[in-house]
């Protein structure tokens, strides 16, 4: 909880919501402040989150009670080797404005993880140096982990562009 308090104190309104459900510390961050919060988490000695363990997204468009809210949440799982603690940061984005600043400048692993989120959810990462799909091929139409993408849809399998 000390971590969440510290983030709230430092960033004020930019921390939209905090939570420690089942012991997982979670903070929802405003998009405008995302990069500064991530950089603070990485560089502040008391936090020292040096590993971006995971970066993914969730589509909340079919979640009971959240159909009308922002559609996506981009989820960052941070871990600190030195301090041995974890933190989950989330940023909410709308469908019409599905863009998040890229974290590649902070952690190089964000490159592939953000490509995967673009691939699966269609969320753009602004400033990404290599915004291609990761798992699917460029000619693929749509973003399969969106809740409105039917699981049985077939698409012609096109070989990789050479």
């Amino acid at each position: 909880m000390a971590i969440l308090d510290e983030l709230r104190r430092r960033f004020g309104d930019a921390i939209v919501e905090t939570d420690d459900h089942r012991g997982d510390l979670t903070a929802v961050v405003a998009r405008a402040a995302l990069l500064s919060v991530l950089a603070h988490c990485r560089d502040e000695a008391a936090l020292a989150f040096d590993v971006l363990m995971d970066l993914t997204a969730v589509d909340y468009s079919k979640f009971p009670g959240r159909e009308d809210g922002p559609r996506f949440e981009v989820v960052y799982h941070l871990y600190s080797i030195a301090r041995n603690h974890r933190l989950r940061l989330k940023v909410r984005v709308d469908q019409d404005d599905a863009r998040v600043p890229t974290a590649v400048g902070l952690w190089p692993i964000a490159n592939w993880l953000e490509r995967e989120v673009w691939d699966m959810f269609g969320i753009r990462f602004e400033g990404h140096p290599d915004p291609r799909r990761l798992l699917l091929y460029e000619e693929f139409v749509g973003h399969p982990l969106r809740k409105d993408y039917p699981i049985n849809r077939r698409q012609p399998l096109v070989g990789p562009a050479s």
Partner: protein, 423 residues
């Protein structure tokens, strides 16, 4: 163990100057598929993530859902999960080291390692009934209790495995040809390894003793003694040494766990002789249910380890989470209703709305499952943090500037598993 991958590289003579790694050839919509069925229906999919150590995937996913549900599995189940995870880890390392040695021409090592893996897979087969796609984990427990004589068999298999590892050490460690290909090749600095979120043997080979089993112990790892082998060079040879040392530690862990595994509540309240299932069901249908739940029943060999008393030992006592033992489902209306409530569509396990992330130490590093529930009987979102994606994302950093031939040991040492990389 590898999978399909495409490395588009630009060469200067035989030196790689630029490389672009392309993945996704085994993508089969694991995360999307998980959203389509009940919570336990995802277990067989998790087998196919890392098909060399599927048990760890099973338990990792089950533990994430248990965290969401807020249930704690039984002691015996925790020990079983530890033992089976460690056996899996040894199988994974054996395959990795064996395959990469074979690619460098040491075919004998591959055959020896696969022989040792065979000893261990026989144990896995004894417990789970299958060798590869074992589907042994369950939310709230495991499928079946350990078979009789498992401890002796395991100790014997470990003895044989140790002999094999000894032989392999004599063949490879210090071998001139092997060292020429491995030492100083595929180096990734400690800082870069961390920046790329690489965990597991690769991180430990770069000198960081991070291991989820020690840093944030789950199950009963905090009660068992083991070391975390590290090296400092971060090259392929260090990774080989770390894996070889880890196998010994895994055997140590499993031996301690076998020595201290609790037997749990044992059912002593039965009477009479075992009867066969058909007669049992007939008696239930005729309404002669008095004492029926106390009568022992001869179960099909397929259900070995799932008898009433065994199920009680390895599963949480929570009817909302685990299926009742077969005797109860056949022999009592309460058991049948309980069974239906967990199996019928629209019912089943229903974790409260929320989310949880649960990391376990997979054979390749931190394997995390991030699950989101909307309170229904199906996962709203299942995310697997694959331990071998970060090393592949950093692969170009390990191979650029080296010879094409050096790609082979480097690719072997990152131990790419197509199933979990592409999901």
């Amino acid at each position: 163990m590898h999978g399909i991958i495409r490395i588009a590289s630009e060469l200067d003579g035989e030196t790689i100057v630029k490389a672009d790694v392309e993945i996704g050839y085994l993508h089969r919509a694991f995360e999307k598929d998980c959203e389509q069925g009940g919570w336990n229906n995802a277990i067989p999919y998790t087998d196919r993530l890392n098909y060399v150590s599927p048990l760890i995937n099973n338990f990792g996913y089950a533990s994430a859902v248990e965290k969401l549900l807020g249930v704690d599995v039984t002691e015996r189940c925790k020990y079983i999960r530890v033992i089976m995870s460690e056996i899996s880890r040894i199988c994974d390392h054996l395959t990795c080291v064996g395959a990469s040695a074979m690619e460098l021409g040491a075919f004998t090592v591959f055959l020896y390692m696969i022989k040792a893996r065979e000893f261990l897979w026989e144990l896995v087969e004894d417990v789970t009934g299958a060798r590869l796609t074992i589907s042994y984990g369950r939310v709230g427990g495991v499928k079946a209790d350990l078979p009789d004589g498992f401890a002796e068999k395991t100790l014997h298999a470990f003895k044989q495995t140790r002999e094999v590892l000894d032989e392999v050490h004599r063949l490879l460690t210090g071998n001139r040809i092997f060292m020429d290909r491995m030492v100083g090749v595929g180096v990734l600095s400690r800082e870069e390894t961390i920046a790329y979120a690489i965990t597991g043997p690769l991180l430990r080979a770069a000198g960081v003793p991070y291991d989820v089993r020690r840093a944030q112990p789950y199950y009963v790892y905090d009660r068992l003694e083991f070391e975390i082998p590290t090296q400092k060079d971060g090259d392929n040879y260090s990774r080989y040494l770390v894996r070889m040392a880890e196998m010994e530690q895994s055997m140590r862990i499993a031996e301690q766990a076998l020595a201290s595994i609790p037997s749990g509540p044992i059912n002593v309240d039965f009477e009479g002789r075992p009867i066969d299932p058909a007669a049992y069901v007939d008696r239930g249908k005729q309404g002669k249910t008095e004492g029926l739940l106390l009568v022992p029943i001869t179960l099909s060999p397929n259900l070995q380890g799932q008898q009433r008393d065994a199920a009680r030992r390895v599963n949480v006592a929570d009817k909302r989470v685990v299926l009742p033992p077969k005797e109860n489902a056949y022999g009592s209306i309460e058991g049948l209703m309980n069974h239906f409530m967990l199996i019928m569509e629209g019912y089943g396990i229903r974790p409260p709305a929320g989310e949880a992330y649960f990391p376990v130490e997979g054979a390749n590093g931190e394997l995390g499952f991030y699950v989101v529930s909307d309170g229904s009987d199906r996962p709203y979102r299942v995310r697997c943090r694959p331990p071998c994606l970060p090393p592949l994302a950093a692969l170009h950093r390990m191979i650029v500037g080296e010879m094409v031939a050096d790609l082979i040991p480097t690719f072997g040492s990152v131990n790419m598993i197509g199933g979990e990389l592409d999901r």
